[in-house]
């Protein structure tokens, strides 16, 4: 954290998006996280993505639970709507909000504790429902707010700051998502915005639940030698398998990638995500293959990153549940309530 606020002065040549806004217009309040926290970089990536998408700030809903990660929704797009919920219960709030208004963009920010421990059930059901939201796990392998105990995502053999080793196997949110039927599964790293920003855009454009597990080193409690979630370790064991490039509708695809390794995916809003396969044998539309590939790489101590799995065809929450096309807040009162006669009619059905 800092004592002074980020000055409201900007580079005079800062580019503007279609709305005439600069990146600075998508910032939030000043971060109070530790200096060098990976979460702040993810915040910067979210800001960049929202700016690149020319999103109107009031179109964004920011949801979070409890933890260092969950503080970060305050640090981007201060013009958006926010809800800081109970620990691990963010998906419930998200379900309600998404059901009520399908016109908005939803970003849920959670941590490894909030998602994989106290909120694991909620996380699984959000995925099962295929809620139309982007769910970011800011994954650092420790409980930072309570001074560095291992979390459920800590790898076997990873050492805590004081030296003790973690002996329990981790829950990998990406593997979990693949088995739970996730339709957009990605992993990234806070220190690689070139990969992360297009993933965030793709995740926001995806119809259904988009999970991005972002390795986000805890600079205070998990950035030492022996940790498997430190900046250095992640960089050394980093294996990007499919890079996603977001192509705005107006821009043509320039054939700068080797034929066969490039795979365009049309999103439901018509925009295009260009997948660049860094391992040509890999197919991000094959759930089983993805699962095996990840398991193999994990055995080699490699973090597979990039857009690991994508399925644009499965029905999302709105389709399955038949939610209202018009946001609830725009429906006339008479339509929202059955009235006393209508209520009586409904109740009589249960008598």
């Amino acid at each position: 954290m800092s004592f002074i606020a980020k000055p409201k002065i900007a580079h005079p040549g800062l580019p503007k998006n279609e709305l005439g806004l600069t990146r600075r217009d998508y910032e939030g309040s000043m971060s109070t996280l530790c200096a060098g926290c990976g979460h702040d970089s993810i915040t910067a990536a979210v800001i960049e993505a929202c700016w690149q998408m020319s999103m109107r700030p009031e179109q964004l809903v920011k949801l979070s639970g409890i933890g260092c990660s969950s503080k970060t929704t305050a640090y981007f797009v201060s013009g958006g709507h926010g809800f800081n919920s109970v620990h691990g219960r963010m998906p419930s709030i998200a379900t309600g909000a998404i059901a009520a208004n399908k016109d908005l963009h939803y970003i849920g920010v959670s941590g490894d504790g909030d998602t994989l421990s106290i909120g694991f059930g909620q996380f699984a059901h959000a995925m099962r429902r295929n809620l139309n939201m982007l769910y970011i796990v800011e994954n650092n392998g420790v409980y930072g707010l309570t001074k560095g105990q291992f979390s459920a995502s800590a790898d076997i053999g990873s050492k805590a700051k004081k030296g003790e080793e973690n002996l329990q196997p981790p829950i990998d949110p990406v593997l979990a998502a693949l088995t739970l039927g996730g339709t957009f599964v990605a992993r990234s790293f806070s220190g690689d915005k070139e990969q992360l920003v297009p993933l965030i855009i793709a995740g926001l454009k995806h119809r259904g639940f988009a999970l991005i597990d972002v390795l986000s080193p805890c600079v205070t409690f998990n950035d030492h030698e022996g940790s498997t979630k430190s900046y250095e370790f992640v960089r050394d064991h980093y294996d990007e398998v499919v890079h996603a490039d977001f192509v705005p509708p107006a821009r043509e695809i320039t054939a700068q990638y080797a034929q066969g390794d490039t795979m365009p995916v049309t999103m439901h809003d018509g925009s295009l995500i260009l997948l660049r396969k860094l391992d040509p044998s890999y197919d991000p539309r094959h759930r089983g293959q993805a699962f095996n590939y990840l398991r193999d790489k994990l055995a080699q101590n490699e973090f597979v990153t990039g857009l690991i799995y994508i399925d644009e065809k499965s029905p999302d929450f709105h389709e399955v549940s038949g939610t209202t096309a018009t946001p609830v807040n725009q429906l006339p009162f008479a339509k929202l309530t059955p009235g006393s006669k209508g209520l009586e009619k409904i109740l009589s059905r249960y008598r």
Partner: protein, 609 residues
């Protein structure tokens, strides 16, 4: 790109753009901070060390620092650096106890300075404390040179001039007033002096030989600008006609038109040959003149003086038209008509030259084909080893602050010459860095960006100011204004110093930088690298900082110094202190820093900050 060599003192010096732009390298951020702390005397002394005349320059300096000021890159207006200098001068206590003193024991070397202008006075200021005996020959009965004769007293009050010149003369300078040097040969023949410094300025105003110029009826009403200002300064001229035309739009023209208004004119026109944008006058001097209802008439080239009945009645002008290219340069010009302007007096302010009719040809002091002396640009030595030039006399008309810098450099050369040392072997500039870190988020400087706008200088009421010629128009900043203006300084001398060995590439600095001046990227050549910066590179002349390869990915940290506001957030957000805020102090060598093998006493130091 190769990693930036920050051990070269010029690298961090260039980041302090105001100080880099100042010919005398005045430590601007330091004195502004001292003013902010209310230490006016210390602020004055920091100024005096480099520019010698803070009170004078705080009013009339040409301010090369202000167009360079980085505040002007993130906001409309630069910091009012010049007028803050005046604040330091106006509010200082008696500085005499802190000024260097001349030793009683002289070193036996005698130096003659010709002309008592800013260059000669600076030479005396630098050499007297080292034990030299300095004699200044001045043709007028009062010292100051152009500062006295050509700058009107409504801009520079007499007493300010007297006080600051007094500090130097009181060192024991042998000031010989009313003593023009008419022959260099005679001066050298006396054998009295070990070195001679020529600081006689550029005292010859250019004439305009057009039809009617030398008509007997007109001559008394056509004046050469600098001569006329001189006569005004000494009270020989006390009035002028009601309608005055000024030819030329330099700073002298501005002084002429404003002086005319105070001597009885009420219809003053400045006649410009070219459009605005080609004017030589500083923007602020134009503003001040126009505020006094001087009309500036563009695109009129003088053609002839009109004499009727043996009397000057006006001037005939060609009306000009210009074609400009995309860059605003003139590519074609033509005359589209003629126009007559009636007037009572004409003042010619079209430039001035240096002239040395008193330097004989056979002395070894060589001149080039334009009769400009051949002077070494670093040592100010002429082709005759014991004769040095400085100020306008050396390279033609510049300004006071350049004259001061010439004086400093010439003093070093004279000192070396007198001590039989090689004048070209000069001490290099040096730079010290010291961390400003006080705590986790605390710095020993005010790092918060203050969004205040530039304060406006209060002026004497328009009616009031014309009553007398010596009513100073600018009132100086009020205490509140000064306190606000100092907060606009960005502390560019508090440098962002980067250590690539400590960086863990967490991106924290890049994310927090309010002006997006940091980028972590694979290395490349400069032109290509500038294309890949986080925010576009707007000023290719401002060097990039490029770090050594970073440890994890071998990328480099690139900083575009151009618009950094020195808020220190990169250093605050850095978990490993790879960034640190360190104050740079640029050490400019003066004559007193040179070794003095012949002197038994150590030279008195003039270091103040």
């Amino acid at each position: 790109m190769q990693p930036t060599d920050t051990a070269n003192p010029d690298y961090y010096h260039r980041v302090v753009d105001c100080q880099w732009a100042c010919p005398a390298h005045t430590d601007v951020p330091e004195y502004i901070r001292l003013i902010a702390q209310g230490q006016f005397t210390a602020a004055y002394l920091v100024n005096r060390e480099s520019n010698v005349f803070p009170g004078i320059l705080g009013r009339v300096c040409d301010r090369p620092c202000e167009p360079a000021c980085r505040r002007g890159r993130v906001e409309a207006e630069p910091v009012a650096i010049c007028r803050l200098k005046r604040v330091a001068a106006d509010h200082r206590d008696d500085v005499r106890p802190y000024l260097p003193k001349a030793p009683a024991q002289k070193n036996g070397k005698r130096v003659a300075c010709i002309g008592a202008g800013p260059a000669s006075l600076t030479v005396a200021n630098d050499l007297m404390p080292l034990g030299y005996e300095v004699t200044i020959f001045e043709k007028w009965h009062t010292p100051g040179g152009l500062m006295r004769t050509n700058i009107p007293s409504f801009r520079l009050p007499e007493q300010v001039l007297a006080e600051e010149i007094g500090y130097i003369v009181d060192l024991g300078v042998d000031l010989r007033l009313g003593s023009p040097v008419t022959s260099m040969k005679q001066l050298l023949a006396t054998g009295e002096f070990d070195a001679i410094f020529v600081g006689s300025g550029a005292p010859k105003g250019k004439d305009l030989n057009l039809p009617g110029r030398h008509d007997p009826g007109a001559a008394a009403h056509i004046h050469i600008g600098i001569d006329w200002l001189e006569s005004v300064a000494f009270g020989h001229v006390k009035n002028i006609g009601r309608r005055v035309l000024i030819i030329g739009v330099g700073n002298t023209a501005m002084d002429c038109c404003r002086s005319s208004l105070r001597l009885g004119a009420d219809d003053v026109k400045v006649m410009a040959r070219k459009p605005r944008g080609f004017f030589k006058a500083s923007e602020w001097e134009l503003e001040d003149a126009e505020a006094e209802n001087v009309e500036i008439v563009v695109n009129h080239a003088p053609k002839s003086f009109v004499i009727e009945d043996g009397r000057l009645t006006g001037m005939q002008f060609d009306v000009m038209e210009y074609d400009l290219d995309a860059k605003g340069r003139i590519v074609a010009e033509r005359t589209i008509g003629e126009k007559f302007f009636a007037c009572d007096d004409v003042i010619l302010a079209i430039g001035q030259e240096n002239a040395f009719p008193w330097i004989e040809n056979d002395l070894g002091v060589e001149f080039d084909q334009w009769h400009v002396p051949k002077v070494n640009a670093a040592t100010f030595q002429s082709t005759r080893p014991d004769v040095f030039f400085g100020g306008d006399a050396a390279f033609g008309p510049k300004n006071i602050i350049w004259a001061v810098e010439h004086g400093h450099q010439a003093a070093i050369s004279i000192h070396k010459h007198c001590q039989d040392q090689d004048v070209t072997q000069r001490l290099p500039r040096m730079l010290n860095l010291s961390s400003r870190k006080m705590g986790l988020h605390e710095w020993a400087y005010k790092n918060d960006y203050n969004p205040l706008e530039r304060r406006l200088m209060p002026h004497v009421d328009l009616k009031e100011r014309f009553k007398k010629i010596n009513i100073e128009v600018e009132l100086g900043f009020t205490a509140e204004q000064a306190a606000a203006e100092v907060q606009r300084c960005l502390n560019c001398d508090v440098q962002t110093v980067f250590d690539a060995r400590l960086c863990i590439e967490c991106d924290a600095c890049i994310d927090i930088c309010p002006v997006d001046c940091l980028t972590m990227t694979p290395n490349g050549d400069e032109a290509e690298l500038r294309q890949r910066l986080k925010a576009p590179s707007l000023r290719a002349t401002q060097p990039l900082f490029v770090s050594a390869p970073l440890q994890h990915t071998a990328r480099v940290m690139v900083k575009d110094e151009d618009v950094c506001v020195h808020c220190g957030l990169c250093a605050e957000r850095c978990p490993t202190a790879a960034w640190d805020m360190q104050k740079s102090k640029i050490r400019i060598p003066y004559a007193s820093d040179e070794t003095t093998p012949c002197s038994t006493q150590p030279a008195q130091t003039r270091r103040t900050a």
